[in-house]
Amino acid sequence: MSEILRRDPRKEWIARNRLHPQHLEVLAELGGGAASEWVGPNGLVRRNPHVVGFMGPNGLKRIDRSGVQQGAGGGGAAKAATQSKPLVEIESPAFLVAVVPDMAGGRLTGHDRDLLGLARQLADADPAAPGAVLAVIFGEHKEDGFAEAGIDRLLHLDGPDVEGFAPEARLGALVAAEEAWTPRHWLIPDSKLGGADLGRRLAARLGERPATGVWQIEASAEADLGWSCTARGAAGTLDIQRSLPRFALALAECAEPVSDTRHAASELTLPQALPAQLSRIEDLGQVAVDPAGVALSEAEFILSAGNGVRDWDGFHHAAEVLGATEGASRVAVDDGFMARNRQVGATGTWVTARVYVAVGISGAIQHLQGIQSCDKVVAINMDPGCDMIKRADLAVIGDSAKVLEALVALVEQAREEKRNAA
């Protein structure tokens, strides 16, 4: 497009004439979408303060200059910023920091990212001789953010041997990696998702004493590897200060995840193929667990009934369709509608569900104590003033039976559509 500014006198005229029927349209056209700014005839940006702003609490017009109202302009810039994270490439690392992420569900977990952050701390400590972070992952994955997570080298081991619960095969692979590259550090998440198990196996096999439950590291001149760490011991009741050994099993939030840089995440392969192993442990696969049979304290998704539930058949049906574990308030249990082992609360079971749907539960203090550690609480209740509503992240005031019915209909409809689509 040429640099010469083209003028349309008619539009300029309309733009000046606030009474013209096409006034706003023309302004919008000139301003490229927003009616509040446009390029004036001399190439200057003109602003019309009359069309921006909002009515303040006492009836006066207010203009927010923080930029919130400036339209869609900001978003694009932010997006561009994520893409323009600087790429850090370490061509010839002085040493390697090996990380074995859990990759639960085929993706890096928050815990994995924290660990990678810790690995970066170790690798980047000395700018003169930077190390590289090596991640060893097993099996198929769905992750595409290895570079953003701070991984320089990626060893991806695939195949039927390492799928499922295959600690012996995975251990063999890690030992091979150790022999091939001898990383200066091994960092493994101390997590139930597999890291805790694999890390201890590896350390035991290589005969090195690991630090477990590490949650903090500090540079230390006295230590062999230049770092000291703080680890939890005695079932979380002690802090042990010790020098950081080669093998560390670290807790979640041990470090900040990487967020500023991108890394190469270049694939590595083992110098030689893994020898076939005869496994003494056979994985027969995951067992289908009936949500109704899951212990309340472990359940992920709980549909809980209280005094306000009248239609019990409907409630049980809803729990079945939603695939939720059933819970109950004390009153529902006392009245004999639910079994005693389904009682949620300080006097029953303390639950840890991610989603807790309270149906017709007013929220006695004991009950609210019992659901303290739930992430999302949904309340369906008639009484808008009850304590459960105050606790809930989402509350629906209405007849619980009808809401559940509608919810069941929605879920079934969605499943139907999915089936048809498939």
């Binding site: 932010a78 035991a204 939030e253 003494r280 995951q286 992920e300 809930a392």
Partner: protein
């Protein structure tokens, strides 16, 4: 089979007690019909420890084998020797101790030393027959995985394993502690560490890293999330249900 038991420590008062996970291990062993169960402990015998160890006897045992070891010594050689001398089919252990380092390494080191397979985090032992045990491993969120493991093997129990039965006073008092000797291996490395009561870990701050000053300002000025959720009043049942459905979908609990 043998259950390795340790002296636990109550999280609130610090009094010694039977360790929760080891007690679950004992309970797991008791669920197997016809199993011959031995209890094995390596450690110091004093008044507090004895009361705690008698807690296991109170679960219905006549005797417990105690390999006497001084405090803060490495129990591994003593246990390995004892197990090698009379190898059981299955060794059950808790995941980690409630005192000392509590690294949870002992079963792994034992397995490595004895050359036995190890399965961690069991919820149940379903069957032991023909030199093979079928076990259920606990996964997070109440999920289970079925495994077969060649015996002899070492297994550790998960918190999802059946809760231990009450320890009864009568059998606990009557049971015997059979004390035996074993060579002592001092834990040299541990002597160099510093132990402190656990400090509360700082809550992770939400650090906003933004490219521009404007983004930083926006993040700082943003209203804190939470503090009273969304309340839907005067909606039809369908609208309410749709809102709930949306949340369930976002949280990914619908399958």
């Amino acid at each position: 089979m043998t259950v390795l038991v340790s002296v636990g420590r109550h999280p609130v008062t610090g009094r010694s007690r039977r360790a929760d996970q080891d007690a679950r291990g004992v309970e797991l062993a008791r669920t197997l019909p016809g199993a011959e169960i031995g209890l094995l402990h390596a450690g110091r015998l004093d008044e507090g420890n004895e009361a705690a160890l008698r807690g296991y006897l109170g679960m219905g045992f006549d005797a417990l084998t105690l390999i006497e070891q001084p405090e803060s010594s490495d129990a591994l050689p003593a246990l390995a020797e004892a197990l090698k001398a009379a190898p059981p089919q299955l060794v059950i252990a808790g995941e980690r101790a409630e005192q000392g380092e509590g690294s949870g390494l002992l079963p792994y080191l034992l397995a490595e030393r004895l050359g036995w397979p190890l399965v961690s985090g069991l919820a149940a032992v379903e069957e032991v027959s023909g030199g093979v045990a079928t076990v259920l491993q606990a996964l997070p969120r109440g999920q289970r995985r079925r495994l077969k493991v060649r015996l002899p093997a070492i297994v550790t129990v998960d918190a999802a394993a059946p809760a231990p039965r009450q320890s009864a006073f009568g059998p606990a008092q009557r049971g015997r502690l059979e004390v035996s000797e074993a060579p002592v291996a001092a834990d040299v490395e541990m002597a160099e560490w510093q132990f402190k009561p656990a400090r509360k870990r700082p809550k992770r701050l939400k650090i906003v890293k933004a490219a521009s000053a404007r983004d930083r300002f926006k993040a700082a000025a943003a209203k804190a999330e939470g503090g009273g959720g969304q309340v839907l009043t005067d909606v039809t049942a369908e609208q309410g249900a749709a809102a709930v459905y949306k949340l369930l979908k976002e949280e990914g609990v619908l399958r």
